[in-house]
Each structure stands twice: as structure tokens, then as C-alpha cells.
């Protein structure tokens, strides 16, 4: 256990934390309602019930919220502090980033025993977030393309016209299902890694996502 004095750094700004937790809520809500929409069981007692109707309403509302949250986070990566900046997400592009990434990978593969301390994002994590962002985009595009079919030749249906050229209708559904399972796999990884880094780095990894502060031995430049 560390006996050194640690410095308090403000890392995650409010929009970053809000986007993170909105995404969490949306992913849970979208996965549960989405799974039901894909494999419904007969909840309805009479034809005047609106069970599936409400579940789909919740799914679509959460989908809009999620899309806005993802887009907001992308915009914030151009206006926020350096820890939230877009450059963080491409560690492979810089020599320093590649070095950090390799260190982190060696620790994860149980080769090295000292935990590389990171102030902002873990470079291994940001690389995964880029893949995650691609999955998010696919989910948003396939989801809204399927949703827009209720109103053909509406502005949304026209704007997503390229999706109907790229995918068959059923192919879009299949992709949308797979995307959910990939996100579920990511969530398992993400929670585990946050827990692991919290207990290994002693930098208050998990609580930083609530309060925004992380702790490091050296003071920031």
C-alpha cells in the first residue's frame, strides 16, 4: 500500500460524467426493451392493452437520448479538457501513446507486475472505446433506419437511404442484435477493468466517474 502523499487532479468534467452515466442508463434500458422487442412474450391480456407499444416507446425515446449523448460526447472531445480530447483516443498515433499502451498491455497479460499509473484515460481503454464508438454508430444507424421504415419518404428515411442500400432489412435486424451483444461483452470488460484499476492504482478510478477527481503521486505538469 502506498504511503506517499497524492495530488488531487480534476480529470473528468461534468459533460463527460453526464454522457457516461446517460449512456449507462440508455444501454441498460435499450438492451432490456430491445431484447423484449426481439423476443416478446405475451404480456397483453386484452387487445386494448398497449404493452408492446409502451416498450417500443421507451426503446425509441432512450434511443434518441442515447444518440444525443453519443453525439454530445464527440463534440465535447473538441472543446473539453485534454483528458476528454479526441487525441486521447488514438494512442497508437504517438510514440508516447504506443509506449504506454504496450506497458498497459504487458500488465494486463500478467507479464509486468508494476501498474502503470495513468492520469486520464488508460490507452488500452481508449483503443477499446474507438471500437465501441463504431458499435454505437452502427447501433444508432441500424436502429434509426429500422425505426424510419414506419414513415417511408420521411426526412429520416431519406437521410438514411444509404443504410437500405448497404443492408437488407433482415440483415439490419441481425446487425442490431449482434451489436447489443458486443456492447454487453464490452460492459463486462469495462466494469471488471474499472474495478481492477481501482484496487491496483489506488487512484480512485471508480469514484472519479462520480466526482471527477483522480489521485496521482506526481503533480501534473
Amino acid at each position: 500500500m502506498s504511503e506517499q502523499c497524492k495530488f488531487k487532479n480534476y480529470i473528468w468534467e461534468l459533460p463527460v460524467r453526464w454522457c457516461h452515466w446517460i449512456n449507462v442508463i440508455c444501454i441498460v434500458v435499450l438492451s432490456v426493451t430491445g431484447f423484449f422487442i426481439g423476443t416478446p412474450f405475451s404480456f397483453g391480456r386484452s387487445a386494448s392493452d398497449f404493452t408492446m407499444g409502451w416498450i417500443r416507446f421507451i426503446h425509441f425515446t432512450a434511443a434518441y437520448l442515447f444518440a444525443v449523448s453519443v453525439i454530445s460526447r464527440v463534440i465535447w472531445s473538441f472543446i473539453g479538457n485534454k483528458y476528454s480530447g479526441w487525441k486521447e483516443f488514438f494512442p497508437l498515433a504517438t510514440a508516447r501513446g504506443r509506449h504506454k499502451l504496450l506497458r498497459m498491455l504487458r500488465y494486463y497479460l500478467l507479464i509486468d507486475k508494476d501498474v502503470p499509473e495513468t492520469v486520464g484515460h488508460n490507452p488500452l481503454a481508449t483503443t477499446a472505446y474507438i471500437a465501441l464508438f463504431c458499435i454505437y454508430s452502427t447501433m444508432v444507424l441500424t436502429g434509426f433506419a429500422l425505426y424510419a421504415e414506419h414513415a417511408p419518404s420521411s426526412p429520416m428515411h431519406r437521410a438514411l437511404g444509404f443504410m437500405y442500400a448497404l443492408f437488407s432489412d433482415q440483415g439490419m435486424r441481425l446487425t442490431h442484435h449482434f451489436g447489443m451483444w458486443l456492447i454487453v461483452g464490452f460492459v463486462i470488460n469495462h466494469i471488471y477493468s474499472a474495478w481492477l484499476m481501482d484496487i491496483k492504482e489506488h487512484g480512485s478510478e471508480i469514484s472519479s466517474m462520480f466526482c471527477g477527481y483522480k489521485f496521482t503521486v506526481k503533480k501534473e505538469d
Binding site: 437488407s168 433482415q170 440483415g171
Partner: protein, 379 residues
């Protein structure tokens, strides 16, 4: 060909030519169709074209005045199902549409002429009325190996399609095969089958997919042309918006059961007997654009979902390859056993990830870490 045949052919052609001098309304009256029945037909067509009811008199007036366009009906790689659908349609009857509203000069299944006589009738129509006749195509066109996999009267389908559709005022591709290649074009598509638009890119093509085509939609398309003098507004797949502008799921008579959460869970179960939603049984209504729920088949008698079977998605491009399995919601995943749905693979992936991280966590828990060296610290 002997002289007697020649005489018969000539009188047939003369008859056809003479008939064109009369308007549709006059011919119908001559045939003993009452004014009342004629107006009923006009109202039905107005409804099929998704026009307001106030258009019915306009339709009637236009049909009263318009001259019948000559029409040829070509059959390629097909099952003649669309012809069957046309022959079985009760309102308008085949007598009304094929013989009275249109001047069908060539139709392999129903024409009286045969052999050289028939071929001559086709040649005469497409030369005499070049750019003025309508062409209806049923069946896909084989393209592989120069189109050798199908021919009628010694001419390959590809040659005929280019010759006849290329010179037509407009081509109406009836059925999914003529529109998108359909079942002959399903994987592995041994004959290289394609729809009319792909075989003759320069032709003006209106696609009326469906297996079979709804004869009402065919008549409405022709009537639209007769009334307005132009082809109806089309969607991205070349289908008239009046018939393919809405999704089956959104107009379905079982839709209230979908929204309520009442589903058929097994064939013949209580829900099936009560007419609940067929979504769980693999109905492709949510993926299919067609006016089946409102127009229905066989004189508005019924349609698949109406009689307790899910939609097969037959009016969508590549339906055979992308809409299967018929009784499942999602396609099978290539490379996995046919019983493995996307969700089963997904659960496997998630469980695998969870197990891997559980092992990783256990290894980390029993391992003693070093404090990071200064070199490994940031900040």
C-alpha cells in the same frame, strides 16, 4: 405457314387494329358492361391508386375518352403465377381488363394464336407501335453464358427483353422474378437471373413485385397511365408508391395485437385461433412494403396474414435469401449451425467474456503487485 393461317392471322390483327379506334368506355358498353358496373370499377381503381374518392369521376371520364394502348405480355423464367393471379381476379374480370381495357396482342398463356402466327403478332405490334405499346414482363431473365438458359421461339429471353422492353413506352415487371430476379435469382443463381431493369437498364420499368402480383395493382398501374398519361410515382426499388408506399406491419389488421402484446407462440395455440399477431412466428410484415392488408388478393377475399400465416416478404428484393427462415424472426448466421440464432451466439460471447475476466481477476487477486516505478508514473 399455309394460306388459311395467314388469313386467320390477318383477320386477328385487323380486328385488334380496328378495336383501337374505340375508347375504353365505348368498348365496355359494347360488351354489355353497365354504366353502373363501369363506375364501380372506376371507384375501385381510384381506391387502389390511393387517390381521394373525388378522383373517381375523373378516372371515369378519362377511361371514357382514352384509346386502348396495345400491350404485349412476355413470360421468361417464371411459373405463370402472375398470369394465374390475373386470370383469377374477379373485379375487374379478365374479360374486362385484358380484352376490353387493354389490347393484349401477345400473351403466351392465353392468346389464341400459336407458333409463327403468334411470333408474327408480336413482331407486328412492336414494329407498328414502337414507343407506344406497353409491355408486361413475368419472370426473370437469365444472363449467364449469353442468356442461353431460356428461349421462346428460338429467341433468348435476354434478346427478347432488350428488343421488346427497349422499344416499349413503359415496361411493367409483374411479380418478384421480373422485378428483382426472385426465386430463380436466389443463391447460387445458376442461370444468372436478374430482373428487367437490370437486364435492360435503358427501359422505363415499373416494378410490381409480389408472389404473385396483385392483379388490382397491375390494373391500377395501367389505369393510372391511361388517366394521367404518365407512370405513377415510384419508390427507390421502382415500385409505385400507391401500392408499396407503406409497410405491411403498419397497415396490418393484427397490428392491435402486436401493440397490445398478444402473440401466437405456437401454431394452433389459443392465440393462433384468436387471430393474434404472428410476429413471433417469423412474420416478415415489419420488413415488407406492400398493400396486401388493404388490397388483399382474389377479389379482396384474403391474404396470408389474414388467413393465419406470417408474411414471407415476397415483394422485397432478394427475399428468398434475406427473409428466411420463414418461421423465425432473424436470419441464421452463416458459419454456425442452423439452430444457432444471433442471440444464442451473443449469450455465448458474453458468457465467454465474463468467464475470461473472472479468471483474470482471480489471478490478479492472488498476485502481489509492485508500486509503479517513477518511470511508470504520469503527471
Amino acid at each position: 405457314m399455309n394460306n388459311q393461317d395467314d388469313g386467320a392471322e390477318n383477320s386477328l390483327l385487323e380486328h385488334n387494329c380496328a378495336m383501337r379506334e374505340y375508347s375504353v368506355g365505348e368498348i365496355l358498353r359494347e360488351r354489355g358492361v353497365s354504366r353502373r358496373d363501369f363506375l364501380k370499377f372506376c371507384s375501385a381503381m381510384t381506391a387502389a391508386m390511393a387517390l381521394p374518392v373525388t378522383f373517381a369521376p375523373k378516372v371515369a371520364q378519362a377511361l371514357d375518352e382514352v384509346k386502348r394502348p396495345p400491350l404485349v405480355w412476355l413470360e421468361f423464367q417464371d411459373c405463370a403465377g402472375d398470369t394465374e393471379a390475373l386470370l383469377r381476379s374477379a373485379n375487374p374480370t379478365v374479360g374486362e381488363i385484358v380484352l376490353d381495357i387493354l389490347s393484349v396482342d401477345y400473351h403466351e398463356t392465353i392468346m389464341a394464336a400459336a407458333g409463327h402466327q403468334a411470333e408474327a403478332a408480336l413482331e407486328k405490334t412492336i414494329t407498328d407501335y414502337r414507343g407506344k405499346y406497353l409491355c408486361v414482363v413475368e419472370g426473370s431473365i437469365p444472363m449467364r453464358d449469353g442468356g442461353v438458359y431460356g428461349c421462346v421461339g428460338g429467341k433468348s429471353h435476354l434478346y427478347r427483353a432488350r428488343q421488346v422492353c427497349g422499344g416499349a413506352l413503359a415496361t411493367i415487371a409483374v411479380g418478384t422474378c421480373a422485378s428483382f430476379g426472385g426465386i430463380p435469382a436466389a443463391v447460387p443463381n445458376p442461370t444468372g437471373a436478374v430482373g428487367v431493369k437490370e437486364a435492360v437498364p435503358g427501359a422505363t420499368v415499373i416494378n410490381l413485385p409480389g408472389c404473385p402480383v396483385n392483379a388490382d395493382n397491375l390494373t391500377a398501374t395501367v389505369v393510372h397511365y391511361l388517366v394521367f398519361g404518365k407512370i405513377p410515382a415510384l419508390d427507390g426499388h421502382g415500385r409505385p408508391l400507391f401500392a408499396y408506399g407503406k409497410r405491411i406491419h403498419d397497415n396490418c389488421e393484427r397490428r392491435p395485437h402486436f401493440d397490445a402484446g398478444q402473440y401466437v407462440e405456437q401454431w394452433g395455440d389459443d392465440g393462433h385461433r384468436k387471430g393474434f399477431c404472428l410476429y413471433r412466428m417469423g412474420c416478415k410484415g415489419p420488413a415488407t412494403f406492400h398493400n396486401c392488408p388493404t388490397q388483399r388478393y382474389n377479389d379482396k377475399t384474403s391474404w396470408p396474414v389474414g388467413s393465419g400465416h406470417g408474411c414471407a416478404g415476397c415483394s422485397e428484393p432478394a427475399f428468398w435469401d434475406t427473409m428466411g427462415p420463414l418461421y423465425k424472426r432473424l436470419p441464421n448466421v452463416p458459419g454456425f449451425g442452423i439452430e444457432h440464432t444471433a442471440d444464442k451466439i451473443g449469450i455465448g460471447l458474453a458468457a465467454g467474456a465474463a468467464a475470461a475476466f473472472a479468471v483474470h481477476g482471480a489471478l490478479n487477486a492472488i498476485r502481489r503487485d509492485k508500486e509503479p516505478s517513477d518511470e511508470n508514473r504520469e503527471g
